[in-house]
Symmetry: C2
Subunit: 346 residues, 2 copies
């Protein structure tokens, strides 16, 4: 019942396996009649080449790996979605792994992928990763690697990113332009680059619009959770009752804030405007719906695979790897948790 091989076909037809192989691949030095006989028999028995044997010879699996910190996450699953679909178009399958934001796991999972001889790796770094030799080693051994979203510039390889600083600038700018005078920022765990970038975007926006930067307006959410937002909102309004804008690191936190403010009878956006980050699915379902920053995960995944593919081809052709960085634009999704724009609308 199991699959037929070249050898079996050759035996049935009384010809050599080389001829069968060539007939199926339409080599020019095979008689048309022979080709037809072979191809018909192959079709009849539903011949498909044995992938192991092909890989063993070609040293290619047509499988890539993708390692993300967490899979159950709208942003990352969108990226994977984009990558899988793009990969499929080019005949590649995708193994998905998670580092669970652990440096050790990241190393372990990468080793699993390398040992399986997959063709390339798409990688988003864990928050804990601050050393990069494990990745450099892999690249030096000839494995094409593309970094996306959680990246470091200390590794020389293609990268796909969004400009967090620019996006955070836009978010803060939106609050300013809609009339906010005193804006708090809920930031994330200290180390990751995204935390710093979003904070910097916030700060630069204030400076650009000649607004004072006040350190006490920075609050930290350790877990980036709904609950964190809920609790911090209470603290913020207690310490700074005159606040009129909050820029949260990420949507769930913003939604926690929103819920708390509503419970405390603080009008959103009349008294306090709220802007989130990431455009999670649920952000359009809150009341009022949450203004936020859209991070196009699907496109990031698509682009990352395309960069990977380029290097897969380079490798096959013996060319050196590229290491370009692609920036995917973000946009402000204006909903009802911020006030209407005051400047004349075009």
């Amino acid at each position: 019942m199991s699959k037929i091989t070249l050898k079996e076909i050759s035996k049935i037809l009384g010809i050599s396996t080389s001829t069968v192989s060539k007939a199926l691949k339409n080599y020019s030095d095979i008689n048309v009649d022979t080709k037809i006989r072979v191809q018909e028999l192959a079709k009849k028995h539903n011949y498909t080449p044995n992938a192991f044997a092909q890989s063993l010879r070609s040293r290619e699996t047509k499988i890539i790996g993708i390692l993300v910190p967490e899979l159950v996450h709208h942003f990352f699953s969108s990226i994977i979605d984009g990558a899988i679909n793009e990969a499929e178009k080019h005949g590649y399958l995708v193994i998905v792994l998670q580092s669970h934001e652990s440096y050790e796991d990241e190393i372990k999972q990468l080793k699993l992928l390398v040992d399986k001889n997959i063709d390339g790796i798409m990688l988003s770094l864990s928050d804990k990763t601050v050393k990069y030799d494990h990745i450099r080693t892999i690249i030096n051994e000839g494995m094409p690697v593309v970094l996306f979203d959680k990246i470091t510039h200390l590794i020389d390889c293609p990268k796909v990113i969004i400009d967090d600083r620019k996006a955070a600038f836009s978010a803060t700018e939106h609050l300013i332009k809609t009339g906010c005078k005193k804006i708090a920022h809920i930031t994330g765990p200290l180390k990751p680059k995204t935390t710093i970038d979003r904070f910097m975007g916030y700060k630069i926006a204030l400076e650009t619009y000649n607004m004072p930067f006040n350190k006490t307006l920075i609050y930290t959410s350790e877990n980036l959770s709904f609950e964190d937002g809920y609790n911090l909102a209470g603290q913020i309004m207690a310490e700074h009752p005159d606040i009129d804008g909050i820029f949260a690191f990420i949507d769930p936190v913003a939604i926690g804030v929103l819920k708390r403010l509503k419970e405390d009878k603080i009008k959103v956006p009349k008294q306090v405007s709220i802007i989130g980050f990431s455009n999670w699915f649920m952000s359009r379902t809150t009341s009022p719906a949450l203004t936020t920053i859209d991070q196009p995960g699907y496109q990031i995944g698509r682009n990352a695979f395309q960069l990977l593919l380029k290097n897969l081809n380079h490798k096959r052709e013996g060319k050196p790897f590229t290491s370009e960085t692609v920036e995917i634009p973000t946009s402000v999704i204006i909903r009802q948790s911020t006030r209407a724009i005051m400047a004349p609308v075009i």
Copy 2:
């Protein structure tokens, strides 16, 4: 720079590849000194066996495939999360594919997996799938397959499910027990088994509690979207202003309903109770937070892999496949969109 092989080790040490192979695998007919020499050299050069070559011999890849209708979906990504983690524990990697709810894609993706000679498949059927020969064929050719969530009993293989009917019964029962007298049900697209099961659970609950079943209280959401819920809520309240409970097929629909009722100044749960299904992440972030049914995706994934593993082993040992069905229990997550239980609490 690339990986060292048995042959190269054997050349360096001046012994045969067979000896090297056996030394690394601790065969008893190899001298201890030789073993040590081989193992040290292997470690020094970071030897890892070539996976293709192993697979070619053993006919095993240690890779499984998982095919879901959509990846970007909290429920499915949780399932995949559970499957990946469980698989990893047993040395398996996971290729993820999507059918995008298309019958043709399902066939195509399954073929990709089969052609790659992966060891087994975890599958959740697309909504469009009503014929199952493509799956039966795969199983008959010896591929271990496990069905989960979107299943059919017309295929003889292991299955992991939740009892939708029972869960829907509990949901409706909860509304009844908290005092609802006239309950509408928003159902999904007609064909899928889940739609029918949840509808049946609703209906049976009504009958059980001697409440009339009224056909006009059944509304259909084609897209199972937030927007559908939003719009249907308006329709429902217009046609049945005296309704006091709504059981929605799935959380986003319920949240759409919630938002609309709030906009229409209808008190939830005072005037109308709402219960959803699936316990999406966002359901605890709404105000009032949504009462819903928890479907433990992670556990489903875990269990499905365990069943698959059992058959992977059976296959290796030449035993026939099992075909047990595991039911994962659901639970009602009581939040604020339904009233407090009236009966004495135990």
